[in-house]
Symmetry: C2
Subunit: 221 residues, 2 copies
Amino acid sequence: MKSPEIRKAVPLREQVYAAILSQLRSGAYSPGERITEERVARDLDVSRTPVREAISQLHQNGLLSSRERGGYVVPSLTVAEVVEIFEVRKLVEPHAVLLATREFGDKELAALDKAIKQETKAASSKNPDSFAAANEGFRVALFDSLSNGTLTGIIAQFGHHLQFIRMLTLKDISLRKDIVKRQKAIRDAIARRDETAAPALWEEYLSFAQAALVSAMEESQ
Amino acid sequence: MKSPEIRKAVPLREQVYAAILSQLRSGAYSPGERITEERVARDLDVSRTPVREAISQLHQNGLLSSRERGGYVVPSLTVAEVVEIFEVRKLVEPHAVLLATREFGDKELAALDKAIKQETKAASSKNPDSFAAANEGFRVALFDSLSNGTLTGIIAQFGHHLQFIRMLTLKDISLRKDIVKRQKAIRDAIARRDETAAPALWEEYLSFAQAALVSAMEESQ
DNA sequence: CCACTGTTCTCTGTATACAATATGCGGAAT
DNA sequence: ATTCCGCATATTGTATACAGAGAACAGTGG
């Protein structure tokens, strides 16, 4: 028997996906800029084929806009679109939290606690990246293990967009602390199986996050 | 000036997508069967490249399941999954109907009427295909022109699944007539801008459709 | 100086070739 | 007879080659 190495070679297309995504988040491409397969392929020193597949998936996930006659461009998210996303999140995610209050056991609560601990640790850091990662970890811990797979799939889609827009607000340290406080309250409501409070708290949290995001976007104009 | 011909060549990948989809719906592939790129490519007499892209999109839309070590298989929809989908639809679509009551003008109502007329015509036909198409037309007329693009995108995703499961129930002619009656009532509620009745009627309709579907699936076991 | 047109160049869409890996079968050894 | 090993094959992943559509641009005629 071979040693328990990583038997699963990571497909190039996924590495390319991650690479483009990280470049998008870091702002290496500016909104409206055209993304060409050839250039990405040269930059990453792979052939066009995996690049093409990665770009296609990015597009399916809403992280790249398609041009009229083929090709893709970096999307620019408007305030109106952010509001749209949050409207839908408020429709869907509170119900997911309700499921969590019904379904979560010790293991899931522990995952939540772990994410909250990481957020707490990262809350005062100068660089918001680690907090953003912990924040995403909380989302995953909360939504990814629910029984309704269709629901988790849709919520995961929002996550793709969030990777983009989250960074706009998380520079503010007092805001981060507020987020952690709210998430702790939600965790406790889930722990005591409070089917009324937990979804309501999450909806409040969404409204709060939406307001912070919108004002941050309007300022940065 | 040139004549207004169709300047937009339909990409092969989209033709392939449509071809596979139609074969899936017609039951040419049985659930659990493996789909190989080469076979589809041979059948349609194109190269593997567009086939590969079409299959990838089918998978992203949930119409093909991925296997553990690469490859795809025809998914088999269980009753539990159908219930999941309808749970989420009931969460999202009534709100979309609410938007419709606020936003629809004469043009959108006319589109609804046209779809209802086509459904009426097809209601008594022996073969359910034309009714299924008209039913999808109603969905498009109702949901595709709303202001919240994120919402319409998510609802469109459900449509992909519906293409599969709709056929299970539409053989029943009296059921079709019931559907048309309900959709007329919803159209009227939207026309008189009844923001309470229209979403509620749509939710009832969903519960009704869900029940019909579940019992049809349990019978066909 | 402006408009038109032909050319060139860039980019995507599609095909094909090559590589790597799983899969299934058959034979040999115990 | 059964199990294990190895080989042949099937299938996906990646690279490269080729074709066609637009876009930019320069040159020419008005």
